[in-house]
């Protein structure tokens, strides 16, 4: 049943130009970064004489692309998540889902998975793009896989937050703005506490938890953070929708 809701969401994302445009624009910018990364690699490495200054091509190009990708999804996710519930609320299509034999949790999970599936297309494409380096170099697959998992978790957290804000309003644009502000604050929270890195609030920052993945390290602590983040906002969304049914 969750799958059916997710399928519906995916279908509706590809039914409008929005999904295609966002996908192609993002892929174009990632491609450009990839290309620049490869060029820069030769420029930088020809200047680096001592072995300590040398880094592998995977790490050099990968860090560039994934760093940029984690920044770009900050803009892409609010645009995609804004419609999920607010649009249905505005065009009064929610009763269609509410009167079908599916629970609210299934509706919310379905919508969430639909969006994550859409965004993971990007992650898979980025992965393939970096794998092509393997044609002339010996690349570090583990590094790319760790980065992909990190990016997926981050994108999923963004989607969960976006879904929650989308459930609070009837106006998709309002949902997008709220999501963007909240994500922006969460991303750069650790910058505000630059002088005191062990601050509890700085630990809430999404970027900080992405950092270990971007270095190629899969840390269960960070995975737990992302999973808790997702579960929290999905639960809040379910509760928000349940309030509709109770309060009307």
């Amino acid at each position: 049943m969750i799958i059916n809701v997710a399928r519906k969401e995916l279908k509706s994302m590809f039914a409008s130009p929005m999904g295609w445009v966002i996908l192609s624009l993002l892929m174009f910018s990632f491609g450009t970064y990839y290309l620049n990364g490869v060029n820069d690699y030769f420029a930088v490495m020809s200047g680096a004489m001592r072995p300590a200054e040398r880094t592998g091509v995977t790490q050099f190009v990968g860090q560039m692309v994934y760093g940029f990708a984690s920044f770009m999804v900050l803009f892409a996710v609010p645009l995609l998540s804004m419609r999920l519930i607010s649009e249905e609320r505005r065009s009064q299509t929610l009763p269609f889902l509410f009167s079908a034999p599916i629970s609210l949790t299934e509706i919310v999970l379905g919508k969430f998975l639909g969006l994550v599936a859409f965004l993971s297309i990007l992650i898979v494409f980025i992965g393939f793009m970096l794998f092509t380096l393997n044609i002339w170099a010996d690349i570090d697959f583990g590094f790319i896989i760790a980065n992909s998992i990190g990016l997926l978790l981050m994108v999923a957290s963004f989607s969960a937050l976006g879904l929650y804000f989308s459930s609070m309003t009837q106006q998709p644009v309002v949902a997008a703005i709220l999501t963007f502000i909240a994500l922006f604050a969460l991303m750069f929270l650790d910058r505000f506490f630059a002088g005191d890195p062990s601050n509890t609030l700085a630990n809430l920052s999404l970027t900080r938890h992405f950092q270990s993945f971007s270095g190629g390290l899969i840390d269960t602590g960070d995975i737990a953070y992302f999973v808790l983040f997702i579960v929290t906002f999905l639960t809040l969304t379910v509760r928000r929708l349940d309030a509709d049914r109770l309060r009307g």
């Binding site: 049943m1 279908k11 409008s16 009763p95 269609f96 889902l97 034999p101 049914r245 009307g248």
Partner: protein
């Protein structure tokens, strides 16, 4: 166990202390069509939302084929097809895509989906619209898609909130035929403002006013109330009321205007013939005699007005 398809007990819904629906109870059996009547804001849609599980009742319970809507919402919802007042259509999809999604969400098994979509389209006259975007359909066709969506999984109970709004007369006739067809083997609940429609398609009628059930009974009772035991008589030389009261069976005489009188008679009497004979004998100059029908509108106003008087 009884075989009621819908069982609503003491349904109450509060909106910030104000009762939008209060203590509505009724039952519906298989093969019946129930009509919901009521002025604007009477609580028809709110009741329907509670029946379909879109709104939690503040008090009371709903049972669909014996399954409690609050305790087992998924099982109960699987038995219902619902078309809300605002059509829940995803306008970016084609008719086929939308109906396929509806069938899938309503647990139609994968191998039957194609057939279910075809049948629903055929029943609602949508066959030639399969590949059109819902957005581009006219109002009437969109309404048909809404109805198709509600009957696609062949539910035990079909609940339609104002199904004939925005349709042309021919479509209205088709939809009414469809409602009767579905109602023959399943249960249907419709709400409407159009009173003759109720008379045409419904077996049972409920009139709701200010959240309270003011009338609940079979359509025949309402029809009887409508036709009543009344005769309207037009005469050139009207006699005094007493002369008419002497005729057997006549219980009440009311002068409508000069030369026009309304006569009420007992249930088992048929005084028309006697009145005509008396008129001829005494030269009243009879030129018109007809059963006096109150329109359904009048009955409706009467019922909702009575309730106001009591309050």
């Amino acid at each position: 166990m009884n075989d009621f398809t819908v069982e609503a007990t003491q349904l109450t819904r509060l909106y910030g202390g104000r009762e939008a629906v209060s203590n509505v109870s009724f039952t519906l059996s298989k093969g019946e069509v129930l009509g919901f009547l009521g002025p604007n804001g009477a609580g028809k849609s709110t009741t329907m939302k509670m029946l379909t599980g879109n709104l939690a009742p503040s008090n009371g319970s709903v049972k669909i084929c014996g399954i409690d809507m609050i305790e087992q919402p998924k099982e109960a919802k699987a038995l219902i097809g619902y078309l809300p007042e605002m059509r829940p259509l995803y306008k970016e999809f084609t008719v086929d895509e939308y109906l396929t999604i509806a069938a899938r969400l309503h647990r139609v098994s994968a191998s039957h989906i194609k057939k279910a979509v075809e049948v629903a389209k055929e029943r609602c006259g949508l066959g030639h619209m399969s590949k059109r975007l819902i957005e581009n359909l006219s109002n009437g066709y969109q309404q048909r898609v809404g109805i198709a969506q509600a009957i696609i999984h062949n539910p035990m109970v079909v609940i339609l909130d104002e199904p004939t709004v925005g349709l042309d007369p021919i479509q209205i006739r088709d939809i009414r035929a469809l409602i009767r067809e579905v109602g023959a083997e399943r249960s249907v609940i419709i709400s409407t403002h159009i009173l003759p429609e109720v008379e045409m398609v419904c077996d049972h009628v409920q009139i709701i006013d200010k959240g309270k059930l003011v009338f609940n009974g079979s359509i025949d009772v309402l029809k009887k109330q409508r036709i009543g035991n009344k005769l309207l008589i037009g005469m050139h030389n009207p006699p005094s009321s007493d002369a008419l009261l002497k005729i057997a069976g006549v219980t009440e005489v009311e002068v409508v205007s000069s030369g026009l009188m309304r006569v009420r008679f007992a249930d088992d009497a048929a005084p028309a013939e006697a009145i005509v004979q008396a008129a001829v004998k005494s030269g009243w100059g009879l030129h018109q005699i007809a059963p006096d029908q109150t329109s359904l509108e009048d009955v409706f106003v009467q019922l909702t007005y009575q309730e106001q008087a009591v309050v």
